[in-house]
Symmetry: C2
Subunit: 260 residues, 2 copies
């Protein structure tokens, strides 16, 4: 299966803007079933799915070795692994354990909420923002990221309006950084309908959904988006911009709503 997807995007480079074909990494929902039970949906690259399934079950302590697996069937079309175990003790123990741990905030039924969001969160009115303003905001955003320059180990997220950054947070997890700025906006009860999210890290469907849920209409990143994020942004008329670096940026969706 293809690991990438091609999109026609608007590439900005200084004064030049051109529609070009861009290659975006595929984000593929892959659900693991063990003895008929749905264990997890991994958002992954659709390759080596048998190894991913086995590695995941081992890493998470569902199995102690490959011999614990009686049968494993991969349905690449549907994005599913059907696994039968002959050693079920660990698996049954795990299912009783409710504790969840992650450096990413991406848990729960987020992905399954997506379809509802696609219906309810479509943006009708466009954001009044220019490419020049976005470039300036990202320059400030990059300067802000002190912890990153010290350690090279964190992601940053910000909430901003057209002219300035309102909230800025850093975290070792992309999802945590975004939850921090969105959480602060919730606590301080500010309207996000006319604000943007700036991010240092990759924009996956999970990141985009977090922002969309709070009414954000534009997500701008120094890094790459995934195919699922591009697809959702286009469906919902969200402005999704990636690789904002110096004079360059890639606009993946809702080009027409931006000012130049």
């Amino acid at each position: 299966m293809e690991q990438i997807k091609k999109y026609d995007i608007l590439r900005i480079d200084g004064e030049n803007k051109n529609i070009v074909e861009d290659i975006v990494v595929l984000e593929y929902p892959f659900t693991i079933f063990v003895d008929g039970k749905e264990v997890i949906t991994l958002l992954c690259s659709p390759k080596s799915l048998k190894y991913l399934s086995v590695g995941f079950l081992y890493s998470e302590g569902f199995i102690e070795g490959y011999s614990a697996i009686e049968d494993i069937q991969i349905d690449e079309e549907k994005g599913r692994a059907y696994i039968r175990l002959n050693a079920k003790e660990l698996f049954n123990k795990k299912l009783q354990d409710k504790r969840t741990i992650a450096s990413s905030g991406a848990k729960g039924t987020m992905f399954y909420d997506m379809l509802d969001l696609l219906k309810s969160k479509k943006v009708e009115d466009s954001l009044d923002i220019s490419v020049y303003e976005i470039k300036k905001l990202m320059e400030t955003f990059n300067k802000n990221s002190d912890l990153f320059y010290k350690t090279g180990g964190v992601h940053a997220c910000a909430i901003c309006d057209n002219s300035s950054i309102i909230y800025f947070e850093e975290d070792i997890g992309r999802h945590n950084a975004l939850d921090k700025v969105l959480g602060r906006a919730l606590v301080e009860n500010i309207n996000l309908g006319d604000k943007m999210v700036l991010a240092s890290g990759r924009i996956s469907s999970e990141m985009l959904i977090k922002a969309i849920k709070r009414g954000i209409k534009a997500v701008v990143s120094r890094s790459a988006p995934t195919s699922l994020a591009v697809h959702m942004a286009r469906e919902l008329n969200i402005v999704l911009i990636g690789f904002v670096r110096g004079e360059k940026m890639n606009i993946y969706s809702n080009f027409s709503s931006l000012k130049f």
Copy 2:
């Protein structure tokens, strides 16, 4: 609370090797309790923990707004948030929902297994590997990463011996990429006691634990480790190396086991 931790590390730059003080980003386990129930342990940066808690609960659909929260207490010392809700419907609904979703493989009780690992997985015999070999392997590893260069959106992981890469996988998720190479080693039943893990992405405690569980004695990355990963590597005599770029690398643990 400090966002960083300082360690004396061995910095290699061409022929020079010096013990220098290095700044590593702090990885902080933060557990959210809602109405007395343990909901999740986030591995995060210890800042804006109230905002993180609120943002997480909203993003995950536990609350519909800040007004749903009656009281929130942060115990920074213990790394805990104690939250009381006055609107419990969503929360109760969520607790019944077992589905889990993530682009990171980091689920389950991994973090709680760490203490056991610290006892059972301590490395006694050192790996027979030289800094020169590691540099050469990372050069090959970087060249391999085709999907990354196409899209800028993926992480790579490899299993290698002293001279060559045995397995190489890429994925949009760091954890998936590692689970793929470890899973393949499990399927093909190869001994990992004399192998290394190479990674393009950050080495968190979760990444290190995955490798340690399979008997890996050295983890080498192009990126940064977290404080918890450095701490664990030192406790267990794992070789942990970060920022391997060109002639440079930072050795965070078990210096003495390496050849120069």
